[in-house]
């Protein structure tokens, strides 16, 4: 499977900003804000996540191989995560019920094994479903999926593939049109352009995609850095980690952090203007945007910058976060 020519994703030149009516942008932006607010509220009770670098990378590379849009790969990750969380919840619930009813307890590890065995099938089903939400002419056919699985040594029938899709759909109650941060990024870029922010939107968009890939791939480390910054670099407690789940679901915050980091990479000088516009559009505090973009940037340069400090400098972070706290009280 390696060595073949890597198909390219959709050309970035296909993207065009400033072509949508203002009323549409306004409506979509409002809708995204409301959707985000709801997602943040619902995430408060969530107990775990399923975003590991290898899994996200697999989905991304598979989407790349199948010439899918970036939005499809993000959506596939979102669908897969929610499906896996649902499956894990089912395992926990099933084990609890069996124990309460004193029936013959089926070892929950056996349930876990079942999940393991079907994981690749579920993964490709999630990608296939996400492709069906995108352009109809880019839908991944069953033959393509079966060939891919067969090349990896997984022999499945078409019926099993359809059942797997149906399992995912039923598990998620057929609600798989999940929002992705890319929609927020693109919409904010559009609004930035209309608001007179002198940013090279297309170049920013390309950098945003790379940064968003990185945040998806390094989801836990990036948010761990953000969590540590919010508590002044001390060790977070379990409760703080649980409370922070809602922050992880805040796509608006993620989008402004991505755009700000992208603007910093592209141009120092437009960066301050972009951040100011982002703050005014979303109402997110400047310090929060700065803290998030800093976390993204430090993980973006990663090991390529030897000796560079990876965590937020304590004195800067503390001051910035105190300022945020005071401004939001």
């Amino acid at each position: 499977m390696n060595g073949r020519v890597r198909p390219k994703l959709a050309s970035l030149s296909d993207f065009q900003f400033g072509a949508v009516a203002t009323e549409t942008i306004e409506d979509v932006l409002l809708h995204l804000a409301q959707q985000n607010e709801q997602a943040v509220q619902e995430a408060a009770g969530r107990m775990g996540s399923f975003r590991e670098t290898r899994i996200v990378e697999f989905v991304f590379l598979l989407s790349e191989q199948w010439c899918l849009e970036k939005s499809v790969s993000y959506q596939a990750v979102e669908i897969l995560e929610r499906f896996m969380v649902k499956q894990a919840e089912n395992i926990c619930r099933q084990a609890t019920t069996q124990l309460r009813e004193k029936t013959e307890p089926q070892n929950w590890r056996a349930l876990k094994e079942q999940l393991f065995n079907k994981f690749i099938l579920r993964l490709v089903s999630c990608v296939q479903l996400a492709s069906k939400l995108s352009f109809h002419y880019k839908i991944i056919s069953n033959i393509t999926v079966l060939n891919f699985l067969q090349a990896l040594g997984y022999i499945h029938t078409k019926e099993e593939l359809l059942e797997s899709e149906l399992d995912v759909l039923k598990s998620l109650n057929f609600q798989i049109n999940l929002p992705t941060p890319l929609a927020y990024v693109e919409m904010l870029l559009e609004v930035l352009g209309y608001n007179g922010c002198s940013v090279p939107a297309t170049r920013l968009h390309a950098t945003c995609l790379t940064l968003l890939d990185l945040v998806y791939l390094l989801h836990e480390p990036v948010y761990e850095s953000l969590l540590r910054a919010s508590i002044e670099n001390s060790t977070p407690s379990q409760l703080q980690g649980e409370k922070f789940v809602s922050v992880k679901e805040d796509f608006m915050l993620l989008a402004v952090g991505i755009i700000a980091a992208s603007a910093f990479i592209q141009n120092h000088e437009c960066w301050s203007q972009v951040v100011g516009h982002l703050q005014s559009i979303t109402g997110i505090a400047l310090e929060s945007i700065a803290a998030f973009s800093y976390a993204i940037l430090t993980h973006s340069v990663g090991a390529n910058t030897p000796g560079r400090q990876q965590s937020v400098p304590s004195h800067l972070a503390a001051r910035a976060l105190r300022a945020t706290a005071s401004s939001n009280m």
Binding site: Y194, L217, Q273, R319
Partner: protein, 374 residues
């Protein structure tokens, strides 16, 4: 661990003391689950005490409150109380909260003590108030986390129930993915792309801490007003204090016809950003904001930070006057007065928010509601 649950049992399970002990002693340890309900214990209590009272010829009040001398022989050791309380706790809530039995106490969750970073997440809370007298005071965490299958009185070798977060973590770690895309490392590829961008745009990797500096260098977070927003490391031509506002108003008026000449920095051309064709409303930043500092509900991130950092409010003037001073709040029905909650220093001479001023002078009322945005 051995002494503490004794109080738990006496205080929370049965205020009449160790009366269930005869029943408990008659049971085998493996069958202690039969006494998990209070009704069963009460029935056992009634059934066992009356004969005892008759046999021992105790006064009538003795059965209600037996003296300590009587109680001690019936409860020779404390761990038996602990076993009852532990079994009840773990069975009642197992599966729902697993190891987090104490999470039922919402008040404790929201208390500042548990949110402090240094405080243990699950601390034992002693509640002497009568209202909480019947609440089970949780035993130490290690004991509480045990399901009856362990060393407790439940059925032996019961598998420990999985915690959802733990299960998801295990799933992620133990998952074996096929080597479908060898020699691909997307993290490294993305980092290389970013580094290439940085090299191309800056010639080197810039100091990333610059990102954190703008709000700290006299910048007021009140909309994209360039003079205040632009950090000190950006070299821009100086403007007179009134000039910026005037220019901004001019920009707003001209916006629908031409690209704004907002940037006093070297102009960057917008690639692919076509000029608005229709009359786009004035800038979103020019919303009728009551305050430039915080003009909408804080994000979850801001809320958590404000909670976690509330114990260490900033000193009166930590980073210079004017850096984070609250701006005056023009009357707006959308925004409550939050000055009572703000522990930042009051400004000596309040200045109206520039974005609010711009909004007032805007030729076209922009009805975008900021509160709904965020």
């Amino acid at each position: 661990m051995t002494n503490h649950p004794n109080f738990i049992f006496q205080d929370t399970m049965d205020p009449r003391g160790p009366a269930p002990q005869p029943f408990q002693r008659s049971e085998k340890p493996g069958r202690i689950r039969r006494r998990k309900t209070r009704r069963e214990r009460n029935e056992a209590l009634v059934g066992s005490r009356r004969p005892l009272a008759h046999q021992d010829q105790d006064p009538p009040g003795a059965s209600q409150n037996p003296p300590l001398a009587v109680r001690d022989p019936l409860a020779p050791n404390a761990p038996k109380f602990m076993v009852i309380a532990q079994g009840r706790l773990s069975r009642k809530h197992r599966g729902l909260f697993n190891h987090e039995v104490k999470s039922l106490d919402v008040g404790r969750l929201l208390s500042s003590g548990s949110l402090d970073p240094g405080t243990p997440v699950l601390s034992t809370k002693c509640s002497p108030s009568p209202g909480r007298a019947r609440e089970p005071t949780p035993p130490p965490r290690d004991k509480e986390n045990q399901v009856p299958g362990g060393s407790g009185p439940g059925p032996p070798n019961t598998p420990k129930l999985p915690d959802l977060g733990q299960l998801l973590g295990e799933l992620q770690c133990q998952l074996i993915l096929p080597q479908a895309f060898p020699r691909r490392n997307l993290v490294q590829e993305a980092r290389d792309a970013i580094m290439g961008n940085l090299q191309a745009c800056h010639g080197c990797v810039p100091d990333l801490t610059l990102v954190l500096q703008p709000p700290l260098s006299g910048t007021k977070p009140g909309g994209p007003e360039k003079l205040r927003m632009t950090p000190s490391w950006i070299n821009i031509p100086e403007q007179a204090p009134g000039e910026g506002r005037q220019r901004r108003r001019q920009e707003t008026e001209e916006f629908t016809f031409a690209m704004p000449h907002t940037s006093s920095t070297p102009t960057t051309h917008r690639e692919g950003l076509a000029p608005p064709k229709g009359p786009w409303p004035p800038l979103l930043p020019s919303l009728p904001s009551p305050s430039g500092a915080a003009w909408g509900p804080p994000t979850a991130f801001d809320l958590l930070k404000s909670i976690w950092l509330v114990a260490t409010p900033p000193p009166p003037c930590p980073w210079g006057v004017g850096a984070q001073q609250p701006l005056p709040q023009p009357p707006s029905p959308l925004f409550p007065q939050t000055s009572a909650l703000d522990w930042s220093p009051k400004p000596p001479t309040p200045q109206p928010s520039l974005s609010w001023v711009v909004a007032q002078s805007s030729p076209e009322a922009w009805s975008f509601p900021p509160m709904r945005l965020y």
